[in-house]
Symmetry: C2
Subunit: 466 residues, 2 copies
C-alpha cells in the first residue's frame, strides 16, 4: 500500500517495505524531486532528525538517504550550512534544440528478410549461460584482451563449426567481430591493402554489403546467375569473390556442386580469396545442411558466420574462420582494442558448449519450417482463382522467394505498403550489373514477425498477391 506524505512542500510517495525499502523509496523520491525541479537548487533540506519525525521513520534511514544523494551529487552537505539541493543538480536545457530524428514508421506487418523472430530470443537460457560464464571467468577476462576475441568463444566456435558446418579451423585462426558487416569491412581493408581492386559478387545479394566493399575502395563485379546458381566459372582476375554457397541470398538455391569445385579451383589457380557468407547455414528443413565450402580449402576460403540469424542481430556477434596466412593482417586492420563486449562473447561460448545453442537452433528450425509450410500452403491454396505463384528456393533459411507474373513486382510492393505490410521485391536485391534473367518476385522473410503477428502477415501477403 502506497502512502503519500506531503512534506518539504512536495509529495513523497513512499512504499513502506522494511527499512531498506524505505531508505530506497525515500532516496528515489528525493532524487526525483530534485531532478524535476520540484526542489530547487540551493534549497535547504530539514535536518534528518526533523524529517524522520515528520515521516515517522528512523532518523538513520533519513541520514543514509541524504548520504547517498550527497555521494551521487544531488545534494551537498557542508558543516554549518546543513544539507542543500546541489547547484548543478538541475541544469537548464542546451541552447540549441537537438535535431529530432524521425522514427521510421513501423509497418503493421513486417516480412522484410534478414531478421529472425526476435520474440523467440531465449532470454532465460541466455541469462543462465551469462551467470555460468561470469561465475567461472577469470577476472582478467574483463580487460582489453586479445584482439581476435575471447579464447573461450574461439574454442567453442572451432568445435561447433567443425561439427555443425564441416569447417576445418582452429581457435588460433578465428576472429570474433561485431557481426558480419564488421567482418566484411575488415576483409575489405585487408584486400585493398593487398592491392586488390575488384571483388566479384553475386548478381543478387545485399546492397549494404556491396556498399561496405566500395567503402573500402573496392569495385564489385556481378557474376552471372542461372538455374544452377552463381556461375563461378566466369571468375577472372578479381582478387576475391563473395558468395552464399549453402543458401544463395536471396534466391534460396544452393551453389551447384560443380560450381563449388570451380570456385575453389579458381582460388588455388589465381591466389584469389573466397569469402563464404554462411548467414543461415544451420537452417535446412528437408535434409542435413550442406557442409561449408571452407572445408574444401581452408587456405583459400574465409568462412563468415553470425549470431544475427540464429539468435539476434542485437548481440552484434559474428566470426571469421580465416586462412592462417590472413590472421595477422585482419588483426592489424581490426586494431588493438576494437573488439566486442566480452560478456556476450563468454555467454555465447557457454551457450555453445552447454548445448543450449543446439537446442535453440533445433526449436527455431521447427518453428520456421512450420511457417514455410504455411506460406507454401497459403500461396498454393489461392489457385485456381489467383494466378499461379511459385514458392522457389530450397527448404531452408528464414525467407522464401515468390515468383510473380512478369511486370507485377512493383505494383505488389506498392499494394503491400498501402496495407501496412513491409515487403521487399527481388529488384531491391539485384546488383546494378546483374547478369541474370529479369524476374519479378518477392523475397518473403517469414522469420521476421513474432508468432502473434505471423498469421496476420500471411493473410495480408495473400491479399496483395496478383
Amino acid at each position: 500500500m502506497a502512502n503519500s506524505w506531503a512534506t518539504l512542500g512536495v509529495d513523497l510517495h513512499l512504499e513502506p517495505a522494511g527499512s531498506s525499502g524505505l531508505r530506497r523509496g525515500l532516496t528515489d523520491a528525493l532524487r526525483d524531486a530534485v531532478r524535476t525541479g520540484r526542489l530547487a537548487p540551493g534549497t535547504r533540506l530539514p535536518s534528518s532528525r526533523s524529517l524522520a519525525a515528520d515521516l515517522g521513520i528512523a532518523r538513520n534511514t533519513v541520514a543514509e538517504a541524504y548520504a547517498d544523494l550527497v555521494a551521487e551529487g544531488w545534494l551537498t552537505a557542508r558543516q554549518g550550512s546543513g544539507t542543500r539541493v546541489g547547484e548543478r543538480a538541475a541544469l537548464p536545457p542546451a541552447d540549441t534544440a537537438p535535431p529530432r530524428r524521425r522514427e521510421p514508421e513501423r509497418p503493421l506487418y513486417n516480412l522484410v528478410p534478414g531478421t529472425p523472430d526476435l520474440a523467440a530470443f531465449p532470454r532465460t537460457e541466455w541469462l543462465k549461460a551469462a551467470r555460468r560464464a561470469l561465475a567461472t571467468a577469470p577476472f582478467d577476462a574483463l580487460g582489453y584482451g586479445d584482439p581476435r576475441g575471447r579464447p573461450e568463444l574461439r574454442t567453442a566456435l572451432a568445435g561447433y563449426l567443425a561439427r555443425a558446418r564441416g569447417v576445418r579451423t582452429d581457435p588460433e585462426t578465428i576472429v570474433i567481430t561485431a557481426g558480419f558487416s564488421h567482418a566484411l569491412r575488415l576483409l575489405g581493408l585487408v584486400l585493398r591493402a593487398r592491392g586488390v581492386r575488384t571483388v566479384a559478387v553475386e548478381s543478387y545479394g545485399l546492397d549494404v554489403h556491396w556498399g561496405l566493399l566500395k567503402g573500402a575502395g573496392l569495385a564489385t563485379r556481378a557474376l552471372p546467375y542461372d538455374e544452377l546458381g552463381t556461375d563461378t566459372g566466369a571468375l577472372g582476375d578479381e582478387g576475391a569473390v563473395l558468395v552464399t554457397p549453402a543458401h544463395q541470398f536471396p534466391m534460396g538455391t544452393p551453389l551447384h556442386p560443380g560450381r563449388r569445385t570451380a570456385v575453389v579451383e579458381w582460388a588455388r589457380r589465381t591466389g584469389g580469396l573466397v569469402l563464404e557468407d554462411d548467414y543461415d547455414g544451420e537452417f535446412r528443413y528437408d535434409r542435413q545442411p550442406v557442409g561449408a565450402l571452407q572445408g574444401r580449402d581452408p587456405d583459400h576460403v574465409v568462412h563468415l558466420g553470425t549470431a544475427s540469424k540464429s539468435l539476434a542481430p542485437g548481440l552484434r556477434l559474428g566470426w571469421m574462420a580465416l586462412p592462417p596466412s590472413l590472421v595477422e593482417e585482419v588483426v592489424a586492420a581490426k586494431g588493438p582494442i576494437d573488439t566486442c563486449g566480452v560478456l556476450d562473447q563468454l555467454t555465447l561460448a557457454e551457450f555453445l558448449t552447454s548445448g543450449a545453442y543446439d537446442r535453440h537452433v533445433r526449436s527455431s528450425r521447427l518453428r520456421y519450417r512450420r511457417r514455410r509450410d504455411a506460406l507454401a500452403a497459403a500461396v498454393a491454396g489461392r489457385a485456381p482463382e489467383g494466378s499461379r505463384i511459385e514458392v522457389t528456393g530450397i527448404a531452408a533459411g528464414l525467407h522464401a522467394v515468390l515468383r510473380l507474373p512478369p511486370g507485377t513486382e512493383q505494383s505488389v510492393i506498392q499494394a503491400a505498403t498501402w496495407q501496412g505490410l513491409a515487403l521487399h521485391g527481388l529488384a531491391f536485391h539485384r546488383h546494378e550489373q546483374a547478369v541474370a534473367e529479369p524476374l519479378d518476385a518477392l523475397v518473403v522473410g517469414y522469420g521476421t514477425p513474432p508468432d502473434s503477428a505471423w498469421a496476420g502477415a500471411l493473410e495480408a501477403l495473400c491479399k496483395v498477391l496478383p
Copy 2:
C-alpha cells in the same frame, strides 16, 4: 556419486541425477566420445533398447539422447542401418599449422595505468541488472536498431552525465560506441571528411590515441605543457583539439580555469572542435570532481566518456555527447549497423537508473583512495635513506605520477622488469613533439592490481625506487 560404466568399448561417466540429468549425462558422454575420436566415424551404435538394458536406464532416455546427437550432427540415423557416428563428426586438422601467437609474458605485478581493478567488477549486481533489463526490453530491442545506440542507455546517460559531470546534453545527441577508441576513430573520420588536417593534442598522452588520429589521415601537433597544465593559449589553426581537462593523462593535473576558458574561446572564434576525454572524471578524492568542460559550450565541445575505468574495458562501452550539428556526420561514419551489443547497453542503462552504478563508483572511489594513500605513505616512508620522490597530481583517478631524480627513469623501469613488475615511465607517454620540461617520472597505475596483489606490487615498487 559418479558411476563409470564401460560400454560400447568406451567408458561413459554418468551422474545418475534424475532422468533429465541422466539424459544430459549420456548425451555429453557420447558427444565427448565422438569428439575425441574414441568412437570412430561410421561406428554403428547399439540399439536404444540394448544400450538401455546395458546401462539399466529407461529406453526413452537413450532414444532421446540419440535424437539430440543426431540433431546436432554427431550421429546419423537412417532407416535400416541404425544409428551411426557421423562421417564429418571428427575432422582431421587443417593441413597448414596455424600460427601460434605467443602470449605476452604475464608480469608478477602490474602497475601499468589504464585498467581498473577487474577483480572488483560487480558481477552479481551486473547480472541482476541484466535480468531486470531483459525482463522489460521489448522484443524488437534485439534487432539492428538505432545506429546511435539504445534509447534506454542514451536517456540514462543524459541524466547521469548532467548530474555527475555537469554535461548539458540530450538523448538525441548521444552516440554509444565500443569504447573511447571507437569514438575517437569516428571523430577522426568526420574531421578528415570536413577537411581538417591537424588535431592539437597534449604533450603527454596515449600513443594509441595519436595513432588512431593518424590512421584517419590527421597529423597531431603537441601543445606546450607547464605547471598550469596544457597551454591552450597556443592553439592556432588546428581544426580540433584533444584534451583531458578534469585530470590530465598521465600528469594528473586539472586544466587551469583560465585555460579552460581559453580553449572554449578558441573553439568559438575559429569554429574548431574540442574533444574532451573524460576517462576517469568520477574519481576524485579530495573534493567533488570538477564539472565537464562540455558544460561551458555544448556546441563546440564533444564530451567523451567510457565504462572502461568505472566498470571494465571488456564491456567495450563508451559514449559521446555531441554538438547537435555533428550528430548526422558521426552516425554516417559509424555506418548503419556497426554498433555494440544491445544486451550490455540495456544492462548499463538499468545499472545507471537503479543507482547501482553510483554505488559501484562510490565503493571503487573508497578502494582507490586507500590505495593512493598507501602509495603516498610508502613512498614518503622511504625517506630519508632513499632519495626524495614526490607523488604529484591531484588526488584523483586510478594512477599517480612519481617524480624521480633526473636521469633515473630508464634504469628504474629496467629494474622493475627484472623484478617482474610491469611499469610505465613518463617517456612512454610523451608526444614526439612534446613542448614540456623533460622530466623523469613513473606513471603508477594503482588501480590495476587486484586487492590480493596490491600490497606485493607496492612493496616491489618501493624496492626499485632510487
